[in-house]
Point group: C2
Chain length 198, copies 2
């Protein structure tokens, strides 16, 4: 499926380094004060850029935040192809170390309320973060079906995203702990591997 | 495991009807304004009771809200025992109709931010809602192991709560839809039944 290029790549005259700095500042502010209190003014001030520059690159705050979140992801799911579904799933996870996961959890707390109440942010997160991730997962699954690892009519194929994202969001709720690499690897083997019949 | 009786049953001189009215008002206010803006004053005013009465029954706002959420649950998981694990899991879900699920989703939106930022609310929700639910799920699983339906060392036993709660929280994120009865029943058959080897 064709995906449009991210806004920043279409219109930018920023260097990749400068873009990285801007995104870093956005995530820093997000962790500190949360989404609602984050302003374009604060981003402009911390990065010593003008608001006009920011609005030339990103339509608004939801797009800037979603792009920053996407930028910090250490790996594109679509780039993973280990030759087995289990290998692909494990490769998705363990690129991030536990310190990074802890920072991610702080980000999610910073976004918590706004995700529920702000449709623009939800749309931007879905377009820029969730859908590319799901698209990558579904491509993994298609390859697994083509290789004969997964039955084409396995009903768990409809829930690959639910299982994967569910593993992340439920650990803090149930265990009061951040999902780390060991936990996620164990969850994949205990839940996803048997559900997919691998 | 012995669980202490809920505070309201230990100290109350309220009738069950009056208690139900109070809880109903709390949930109504929660859906309207969210957790942060809900005050004991507002609950007292809407239910024509005194704040002293409220504080005699519940330690504070987190306990009152968690008790109200628990009270509206249509069924105690611990009361379910259909004779099979799959039957028990399905029986947990389909007691609530879709209109109730939609109202529950509105409640969760009302709680969204506060759950992330308020440790007292998180503790109260864990003690009064999540732990009894998990305890009930684990009792189901123990019976399944005793009947020989599930291998005692099945690694998915550690993730029953993650799978179940994950099904609820991920559907809005991934599909932008409220989890309904048909979806949850399908998820159980597609994910939990094979993971548990039923």
């Amino acid at each position: 499926m064709d995906r449009p290029e991210p806004t920043a790549q279409r219109r930018t005259r920023l260097t990749p380094e400068r873009e990285g700095e801007l995104y870093g500042a956005v995530l820093e502010i997000l962790r500190e004060v949360g989404y609602d209190a984050l302003t374009m003014d604060a981003v402009a001030a911390r990065t010593r850029s003008s608001k006009a520059t920011l609005y030339r690159q990103w339509r608004g705050k939801p797009e800037l935040v979603a792009s920053a979140l996407r930028h910090q992801k250490p790996v594109e799911v679509s780039a993973i192809d280990t030759g087995t579904v289990r290998g692909d799933l494990q490769a998705m996870l363990c690129v991030a170390d536990d310190a990074q996961m802890e920072k991610d959890a702080a980000l999610m707390r910073g976004l918590g309320h706004a995700v529920h109440t702000n449709p623009d942010l939800r749309r931007a997160l879905r377009e820029l973060l969730i859908e590319p991730e799901l698209e990558g997962l579904h491509a993994m699954m298609r390859r697994g079906v083509e290789r004969g690892e997964i039955a084409a009519d396995n009903p768990a194929l409809d829930y690959v995203g639910h299982m994967m994202i569910g593993a992340f969001v439920t650990r803090p709720l149930i265990e009061g702990r951040t999902p780390d690499c060991v936990y996620l690897a164990d969850y994949i083997d205990a839940v996803m591997v048997p559900a997919l019949g691998l």
